[in-house]
Symmetry: none
Subunit: 133 residues, 4 copies
Amino acid sequence: MLIRIDPQSPEPLFEQVVFAVKSACAKGILAPGERLPSVRELARDLAINPNTVVRAYEVLERDGVVVRRQGAGCFVSDRGSDLALAEKRRQLQESLRRAVTEAFHLGFQAEDVKKALAQCLEEVQFESKRRQA
Amino acid sequence: MLIRIDPQSPEPLFEQVVFAVKSACAKGILAPGERLPSVRELARDLAINPNTVVRAYEVLERDGVVVRRQGAGCFVSDRGSDLALAEKRRQLQESLRRAVTEAFHLGFQAEDVKKALAQCLEEVQFESKRRQA
Amino acid sequence: MLIRIDPQSPEPLFEQVVFAVKSACAKGILAPGERLPSVRELARDLAINPNTVVRAYEVLERDGVVVRRQGAGCFVSDRGSDLALAEKRRQLQESLRRAVTEAFHLGFQAEDVKKALAQCLEEVQFESKRRQA
Amino acid sequence: MLIRIDPQSPEPLFEQVVFAVKSACAKGILAPGERLPSVRELARDLAINPNTVVRAYEVLERDGVVVRRQGAGCFVSDRGSDLALAEKRRQLQESLRRAVTEAFHLGFQAEDVKKALAQCLEEVQFESKRRQA
DNA sequence: GTGGTCTAGACCACA
DNA sequence: GTGGTCTAGACCACG
């Protein structure tokens, strides 16, 4: 099974599911067009309430990662984010700033962070999915 | 004033304060040993509830960023994180993985992310407070 | 009270709330920065479940219409949509195409539709809230 | 082939078929009296379940767009909507209000909306099938 | 007080 | 079978 969560984590369950799916997409484990587990199936496998899975799938749809089709299932989207480029850049900067600030307080040097990033980038199949708007 | 928050942001106020202080430390705006504003002073400046500032300072102390001394105030710690190196590495990887996964879904290329990281690193005067191998 | 819904309508309750809020914003009844009724309050007034209101507020937040701040309330956002211009245009075209197709089947002429649109436009305080990204 | 649908869209398949037929009528691609593809034929062409096509044709008949004749097929109606004028006006206003409200939140100006409408109107050969005052 | 998360279980709509 | 909506009610987190 491709999606796992930790019920002990302080991170909300539905957010753990969201991140797990996004991560699987980035790593190529889930390809565009592929079908995700059904709501009930995933809920059973993760031992959580179906509503929590629904919630996660809703967030994934709003983020442009999946499309949900009534009666059919939930599928990995083949389109990318519809945000304006400026907004995309803002979000990228923000998430990196967080990581960098944490790295500083952990005592890492700039070079350490760059190396760690390079390693992360290798883990994902890093090719932009589609045109930049 | 060194700390700013955005009351419009959905991010909890105390977390904004926590991040702002951590960020100021990373940028060298706050040096080790330096005294932070008093709870009442900061609460007045930011126009927020003193309890919210107390909460932020508590979290900062728990994270090893500041030390609160009874009656004297709250000071930037000169100690680094006391976590084991392996645990630090894990945390760094995790925060970068988040950023990288988001970047993928925003449609960025590996090079874009590296450039953005370099820019972030330049924004902070990136020298570890204490090197810990 | 500014928000009303019709429990008989086939349109989902939460969507009715979403549209009512968007409409109130467009008409200037709700100004940027203004606070919406609390979840419990609105649920009581509309005689629906609080979860349904939460759902509506979530959708409004994802659409950039409001920001929800834990412990504080739900406020009309002063920022606009973060979508790429191309995507905005696509959405505008799509919603107009629907309206135009319906108008045709109702037997209206092009001029009728234009006049009706002019009337709708007058009903709203039609000034773009912010810069185009 | 005159009808196309997008299996990726979250919109229900039968609704896509309904809209595609209405749209084809408005554009003059389907003329009054003309015969639509048979249920099985269309289902095969669109690679969807025949039941879905049946459902779409039912809705189209209910909306007065087509007439289904037992054993003969499904034909574009030559009658207009038989609603009262006041009700038609109300429906037109409502669909435009939706579009206008969305346009506001997308940051468009009144002029933008008018231009976009004019473009939509040109796309369809806009002459009412039957004038009904 | 506010919103945020989660569960349990009902009933409806789509394919 | 699938997802979509809604209710009821619990408990947690923020200000």
